[in-house]
């Protein structure tokens, strides 16, 4: 029986299949539907300092091979998160990763400390794609210097593994990744959704209440895969691939591009069994190839003909 486990610092995961932030809420909603025992870690929905109402509906729109969402980071705020949601989530048989979204450096630091203090939480993911409170020319997710500050401050507040989730819309993702690494990130998640929109030509209006939203699902896979390829060549910390993973082969694509683990989001909507099917598919592939763990696959496509 091959060993699928991977680790990001002290975050030890049974399989490289993580659940992506925001798609499984606070986890408990999917109890009985997702086999959490096959999951490496659950990244909980991003929380902010204050509760957020989120965007006006409609918040979802399906597009060819993709999903647009404009949830607008609706969440209960860090306080109720820690009091109410976390205890419920901690019943689930998989490590929990808190995803936090700050409007500025101080908020990120505050959130990282508050979340990191709780023993139910195995690691903290910084979602730097959040809407900004500060008014700067460059949004946070595109500005290596600010990302560095955010990570440095969060780093001082917690000793738990820090994952930084990058945005594919940053023109120069590699510089942002390197800044996060230098500032002490333990892993980089590549990446979040890409801005997108659709228009209802009959209603003559955007399909989303917020006009634009974030693109996820199969359509996003080639884009984030190329970013994993680029980023993993430029950093030494583990990279976690996210975007359009539905099958074990998709997970393997990310791994062969240089990722150590993957996050599964949209695929859970069409099939809650996807995470466990991906894990068992990976196990079968390892067995077929006579391997004991996934590490030989990491970055394999670069070693083999990758130019």
């Amino acid at each position: 029986m091959p060993d699928l486990s991977v680790a990001i610092g002290s975050l030890r995961m049974r399989t490289p299949v993580m659940l992506a932030s925001g798609t499984v809420g606070y986890g408990a909603e999917y109890e009985g539907l997702i086999d959490f025992g096959a999951v490496g870690a659950i990244v909980l929905k991003t929380v902010t300092v204050q509760p957020r109402e989120g965007n006006r509906p409609p918040r979802l729109c399906e597009t060819e091979a993709g999903l647009l969402n404009a949830i607008g980071l609706e969440n209960v705020g860090i306080e109720r998160f820690l009091e109410e949601e976390l205890p419920r989530a901690s019943r689930l048989p998989a490590p929990l990763v808190a995803s936090v979204g700050g409007g500025d450096v101080e908020e990120f630091a505050e959130l990282a400390r508050a979340a990191g203090e709780r023993e139910e939480i195995a690691a903290v993911e910084l979602n730097i794609s959040c809407p900004n409170v500060e008014r700067r020319r460059l949004p946070l997710w595109a500005d290596p210097d600010r990302v560095k500050e955010v990570v440095v401050e969060a780093r001082t507040e917690t000793s738990k593994p820090l994952l930084v989730k990058l945005s594919p819309k940053a023109g120069d993702v590699v510089s942002v990744a390197q800044a996060a690494e230098r500032a002490g990130a333990d892993a980089l998640v590549v990446g979040n959704t890409l801005p997108g929109m659709r228009i209802d030509v009959d209603a003559r209006a955007p399909r989303l209440g917020n006009a634009t939203g974030g693109l996820s699902g199969p359509a996003l896979l080639p884009v984030n895969l190329a970013l994993v390829w680029e980023v993993s060549a430029a950093v030494t910390v583990p990279v976690v691939g996210s975007g359009g993973v539905r099958t074990a082969d998709h997970a393997l694509e990310y791994v062969m591009a240089g990722a150590t683990a993957v996050q599964v989001g949209t695929a859970v909507f069409s099939d809650p069994r996807a995470p466990s099917l991906i894990a068992s598919g990976l196990a079968r592939t390892l067995e077929r190839d006579g391997l004991e763990d996934v590490s030989p696959y990491v970055g394999l496509a670069r070693k083999r003909g990758g130019r």
Partner: protein, 254 residues
């Protein structure tokens, strides 16, 4: 089974251990493998603990794909999901208001009410006679405790006008208390809510919104209520009409 132009009634055989759905609940269906989202459909009937009925109108890719599924093929469903209609009290008559495919959301409730011999008035409206789905409600039984009336915009069958006008027309003639249940286009739902409120009658409506998870996890399907955004999939799909914030601008629906 085709039940009107572009509307189909499906019977799915479910496993023996399948939980009994409550009227108002829905299932999330994989209609086409290449789609990213499942599609939500109300439970439109449940027989012998083994047969789940769905009533589906073709609206886009997913519903078309589902309508074209081969007889005998396997369908992947998630559910029953969501909350349910509040049953009417002993003394209340039930008034069901269905516009178009809204019949799907109320049919299972109607069947339960008929079985329980509850005093029930079902109003079914549509554009024109050929589109009407009133025949999908159970057949009126003897004793007059259960009645179905129809309305068409063009007057080709039943009441000539909107089903909401028919409701206004009938509401005064009801004896004793009543509870209203509605399902249909946003504009109709808004009008029913207004009428109910004006008449001081309790009213529940089944709200449609595009859904992803179907279990309250993604916050994608929210409906605006007086108490803030609520999920159609978990807090709903049934809402107290008095709680809803129904803006005219949203009449087109999602």
């Amino acid at each position: 089974m085709t039940v009107a132009r572009d509307s189909y009634l499906f019977t799915l055989d479910v496993p023996r251990e399948y939980p009994e759905p409550q009227p108002g609940q829905f299932v999330q269906v994989t209609t086409l493998a290449e789609l990213v989202l499942r599609r939500p459909f109300s439970v439109a009937g449940f027989r012998d603990g083994r047969h789940l009925e769905l009533l589906v109108e073709v609206r886009g890719k997913g519903t078309r794909g589902f309508a074209e599924a081969e007889y005998g093929s396997t369908v992947d469903i998630l559910g029953p999901l969501g909350n349910a209609f509040t049953p009417p009290a002993e003394a209340e008559s039930a008034v069901l208001v269905a516009g178009g495919i809204g019949v799907a959301g109320l049919r299972y409730l109607a069947e339960k009410l008929l079985v329980e011999a509850h005093r029930t008035l079902a109003l079914v409206g549509d554009r024109t006679r050929d589109a009407l789905l009133d025949h999908l409600f159970p057949e009126p039984a003897g004793g007059g405790r259960y009645r179905v009336m129809t309305a068409t915009d063009d007057g080709t069958a039943g009441f000539h006008g909107a089903v909401t006008s028919l409701l206004e027309d009938q509401i005064g003639r009801l004896e004793g208390n009543a509870r209203i249940y509605a399902c249909g286009p946003r504009a109709m739902v808004r009008e029913v809510a207004r009428i109910a409120s004006a008449s001081g009658l309790p009213c529940e409506v089944l709200m449609e919104e595009i859904m992803a998870c179907g279990v309250g996890a993604c916050r994608g399907c929210v409906i605006e209520t007086e108490g803030g955004y609520r999920t159609a999939c978990k807090d709903g799909p049934v809402f107290d009409a008095a709680d809803l914030v129904l803006a005219e601008a949203d009449d087109d629906g999602p």
